[in-house]
Structure formats: C-alpha cells, structure tokens
Amino acid sequence: MDEEFLAEIKKKGEYIFSELGGASGVESVSGVGLMIGVKPVKPVAQVLESCRDKGVLCLTAKNKLRLLPPLNIPMDTLQTAVDVIKAACAE
C-alpha cells in the first residue's frame, strides 16, 4: 500500500463525493477516502433494497447508506455502482 495507491483511494472518494453530493434525492454526503456516508431524502432501507435489486450491495449506518468498497475497485466498476446508487436515491 504505497503513496500512489493511497492517493488513488482519495481520488475515488472524491469522485463519489462529486457524483452524489447535491444529487437528486441526496441530502448530504460525509466521510473520507473510501469510507462514505450518503444520507438519502427517503428512508435508507428503501435505497438499500433498491440498490440490491439493481446489483449493488451497500451498508447502512444509522440513517445513511454506508459505502466501504474494495480499495482497489476498478474505476469503471465504481462508476456503475455510483450510477445505481444515484438512481436509487432519485427514484
């Protein structure tokens, strides 16, 4: 786990922040690196279930969706997952 790898983690985290921060149905985004909480407008259980139906496994932490993806998740896989989460929050 060198500096380059750690910098990639930060970049991936920033990508999630930029995509979900201010997105439709998202109240707030918190966290650092690839430890992220997404507070949806609607009940988190609904978003969790919708994501699962669409093939994305997430966690919760209180009233937030909690994201702890693999640190080496490929960028295109991460993009697919974020798109699903975005759609689940917006619907």
Partner: protein
C-alpha cells in the same frame, strides 16, 4: 437444491439482520449469489476484504503460510508475526504491537493497557476512559461499555464500569469530562463508522491530542474501520498530524482473516 437460508434460520443464532441474499463466490469487487446474480460489492464485509474477494496476492500469501504452519501458539517465534509487527511499527512510528483475533479484542487490550499504565503511573483510581457519543468500539462486555450508544447496552447491564461519554467534535466538553473524572485515556475514532460516518474535525483532534499530552492522559485511536488505507492514508490519524499513544486496528489489516492489532507508542518496559 439445499435451502441454505432455511438451515441458517433454523440453526444460526438470531443475532444478525441478514439481507435476503446468499453469497456464494466473488472476485475483486464483484460477488455472485445462489442464483448466479452478479453484484458490485460496496461493503467489503464491513470494511474487511480491502482488496476485494479472492485477491491473487492475498491468496498466495495465505496459501503459502497454510502450507507451512496454520498455528503455533504464542510460545514460539514465527516469521509472519514478527514481520507484521515490524512493518506496522516502521510505517507508523509505534513501538510495540500486540496481536489479537478481532478489533474488539484490540480495543479491549487498549483499555487494559491504558488502565495498567495509569494505575502504575497515576494511581489505581485513574481508571476512567472517556469515549464519544455515537462511537462504536466492539461487542464484548467491556468494549460495549466503551461504545457510546445506549441502545447497544440494553439488557446487558451492568456493564464494565469506568467509561464516560462526551459529544463528538466538542473539545471543551470532552476536556471537562476528562478533568471531572480520574481519567486514564480518551478513546476515539477519527471517522465514526457505525455512528453514521461522522468525521472528526481537525481542530477537535489536534486540541484533544495537545490536551491529553499536557494532562498525561493517553490518546487511543480506534482504527478498526478507518485503518489500513480506508480513508486514503495508512491510518486515518495520520491526516490530523498527531501521534496517538495507542492505535488499534483489525478488519482490513488481514483482508478477511481474523486479526486485530494494538500498537503502543510509548516505550514502557511492561509493554
């Protein structure tokens, strides 16, 4: 087909709120259920499988060791134990490592180490540990007492005494609570995971570290969930420019093997 969900419901304790999915296999960030449905894993077993499922380098390291020794007890020297302790110390500046099977045990060790240190240095009445509201430090009886969420405590009282809770990101209150009680240590997470992904502010942690140093109170950073690269630094505390007295970690440390570590920054003969 064997109905694993039914067998699980019948024989496994009703402790877990399971999702209606049986995971069968995985590769990297992908996992497949009993019907072959593919998922992207955004949970990593709650921050454990850091490099995804069935990572090649991880498998090779585990298989290599499995072909040598799976266990030896702590009566013998072994290479993985010594080398991991050295690696952790060299990359963090910590002095000594104690290994355990889980994060809860690493935190339990931190609590015991802090109490022992305080009893010897400040007196046995200095046994209190301040933790934060909405924190999560584990599910053993003592780490449950450390956990600042009362709903986890219900039906398990009396808990281990000697824990006081104060609000996160409120330095003045933490300071006041630490001074009102005879305090051995303050234990915090830099980002509260179970508590709702709450990030500690830079000022809060730097003020707290300075206060603890001035009052000879140990600062314990629980990096069970935040550690091992999760937040973009090897350990989250490194982003705050502080040096804790004790760092605990687990989860991603071994990527799926049951391993916890307690790292101690001070040079004390008994540790």
């Amino acid at each position: 087909m064997t109905d694993i969900k039914a067998i699980d419901k019948k024989y496994v304790a009703n402790t877990y709120a399971r999702f209606p999915v049986q995971l069968v296999s995985g590769k990297g960030a992908l996992a497949w259920d009993e019907n072959g449905k593919e998922y992207i894993d955004m949970g990593t077993g709650i921050g454990v499988t850091t490099f995804g499922f069935a990572d090649e380098a991880w498998k090779e390291a585990v298989f290599t060791q499995l072909n040598l020794l799976q266990h030896s007890s702590n009566l013998y020297y072994t290479e993985p134990c010594a080398m991991l302790a050295m690696g952790l110390c060299q990359r963090t500046g910590m002095k000594k490592v104690f290994f355990s099977n889980s994060g809860a045990e690493a935190n339990e060790c931190a609590i015991k180490a802090a109490r022992k240190w305080a009893a010897e240095k400040k007196g046995p009445e200095y046994f209190n540990i301040v933790t934060l509201c909405d924190s999560f430090h584990g599910r053993t009886l003592t780490t449950l007492a450390a956990t600042g969420q009362s709903h986890y405590h219900e039906l398990f009282r009396p808990l281990t005494p000697g824990f006081v809770h104060a609000p996160a990101n409120d330095f003045e209150t933490v300071k006041a609570v630490a001074l009102q009680n005879k305090t051995a240590a303050v234990m915090i997470e830099c980002v509260q995971g179970e508590g709702g992904v709450i990030v500690m502010e830079k000022d809060f942690i730097t003020n707290l570290a300075a206060f603890c140093a001035a009052e000879d109170i140990l600062l314990i950073i629980d990096e069970v969930q935040t550690g091992n690269g999760r937040t973009g630094s090897l350990y989250a505390y490194m982003q705050y420019g502080i040096v804790p007295d004790i760092v605990t970690t687990a989860k991603g440390l071994a990527g799926g093997l049951p391993l916890g570590a307690h790292c101690w920054a001070r040079s004390l003969s008994s540790f």
